[in-house]
Symmetry: C2
Subunit: 305 residues, 2 copies
């Protein structure tokens, strides 16, 4: 019984008000699989890189117990590359460079040993590729989580709407929920989006936390107020990976478990933003995670009798 993560494994070059990086490792599947690996010991990755991708980084996945049999390495080709610059508020950013490279004709391969997939994380990618992965799994996973972004709403809305019919949980940010639904009120947006297919909707609000909608209920999760957000890249992927990793660990899909999964996902994301790239995510201890989760508990608790 495994958790399969599909998404980009790539290079990023990031500028924030705190500094800039050369090409460092990034990508939705990188962040999500590392985050999930703290909760689930059978994380398996589906992605594609070029032969420029360092073997040491692939070894790092292995060190986290992440199966990379589904990570294709294209000889003579280059890995996906994204470069961006964050604004002062760290909530908005400009894309400086996007080089699709190997991603241009990515045909996801599902190794036979991935067919035990029960939890499927569809990281941000072309909706068409996300759909292909679902169709290549012989058994429908117990839980399919899909992360996407405004870009696909702009250029591949029909494919995205088709894909939404096949999944259980959609994670998007507040601006994207408004774009997808055409509603400003997030409550109305959620009502519309839940009619598009997903049974649950998570609206990510960055420094304002997250909202979970489903089963006629709403859960509002806080974000940990941080002194400094160093680099927000990958925070959403980390959140989603932590979320589905925790769901795989507790292995019962319901609203109550999803509340906790959101807290664990948020805790992982709060580590992610403390350093450039996935560095911090590679070196966490269970004690650090438990301590961070307790900070969320004290942050949010009140007792009204």
């Amino acid at each position: 019984m495994s958790l399969v993560v599909i998404g980009t494994v790539a290079f990023d070059a990031i500028e924030t008000p705190f500094g800039k990086t050369d090409k460092i490792v990034g990508g939705a599947a990188t962040y999500a699989s590392l985050a999930a690996s703290y909760f689930c010991d059978k994380v398996k990755i589906v992605a594609v890189v070029g032969d420029d991708f360092p073997e040491s980084e692939i070894a790092d996945f292995g060190n986290h117990g992440i199966d990379t049999e589904g990570l294709q390495i294209k000889q003579g080709e280059k890995s996906f590359f994204w470069s961006g610059r964050y604004h002062e508020d760290m909530n908005s950013r400009d894309t400086l460079v996007t080089e699709l490279n190997v991603l241009a004709d990515f045909d996801p391969v599902i190794p036979e040993n991935y067919q035990d997939c029960r939890y499927l994380m569809l990281g941000n990618l072309t909706p068409q590729v996300q759909q292909t992965v679902i169709s290549r799994l012989r058994q429908r996973p117990r839980l399919i989580v899909l992360d996407t972004m405004n870009f696909w709403m702009d250029v591949a809305l029909t494919d995205l709407l088709d894909t939404l019919k096949m999944i259980d949980v959609l994670t998007i940010n507040d601006a994207e929920a408004r774009q997808l639904s055409g509603e400003y009120s997030l409550v109305k947006a959620a009502q519309k989006i839940l009619k598009m297919g997903p049974k649950y909707l998570i609206i990510k609000k960055g420094e304002h936390g997250a909202l979970l909608f489903g089963e006629g209920k709403i859960f509002s999760a806080p974000a940990l107020p941080l002194e400094e957000v160093f680099d927000p890249t990958g925070a959403g992927d980390t959140f989603a990976g932590g979320f589905i990793g925790y769901m795989a660990k507790v292995s019962t899909v319901n609203f109550q478990n999803m509340r906790n999964a959101i807290i664990y996902g948020s805790a992982l994301a709060s580590f992610c933003v403390e350093k450039f790239g996935p560095e911090k995510l590679k070196k966490l201890s269970q004690a650090e995670i438990a301590d961070r989760v307790q900070q969320f508990v004290s942050l949010a608790q009140f007792e009204i009798s």
Copy 2:
């Protein structure tokens, strides 16, 4: 032992995407005292109006058990008037008209029977007038809450900084916390502001809830996700009034009680925005409030062992 509320009692004319009003009753002290009256039966108001202010509205205060001995009525003068138009997002607005009228030379009078004040709500007003009220109370109240806005940071910063040294709790929004501190991170902003005088800081984030800082702790309160925000006017004042009203009711000043006070204040504010002006606030039942507070409990609760 009473709760004294100082602020504007005034006329507003409001435009939102849902409609517009003629002159209706508004003002910080109106909203705050009505909100507080649901928790405390000794709410006393200090404010000034012109002789254009309807007697029926003053009677409405009385119907809520609010003492209006400190409400001066200036014969031959007009009440403060504000007119504004909210943008589509309901978070930003343009001021169309501001007529100070009686407010231009407001000299607050503290009736003798207000000298039992133990809880003091300094609603949004000139910092100099807020200070005057503190100085005219012979006994320092147990809890002084001050609400202010960016306007006073722009035009009366020195007075505001002096006033901050005399209070216990400051309530401002996130943009104002950033302006007052010069820090983008709200954690750093809070650290700086807590050095300016107040022991507690509440940062109001509208649809994203509120943060309480103090005693080295942070509490993150959710906002109730609403299908429609009809008119946000007075929501911050209502929040502050509900907050201090609850504190007067429980009558022990500590962080734990303040957590609950924020939830009660948020619940009252969530009613306020459902109609134009303070209409909704005038007709609440204790059962409605208890039910709304329970919605906050279900919204925010999670259990991690």
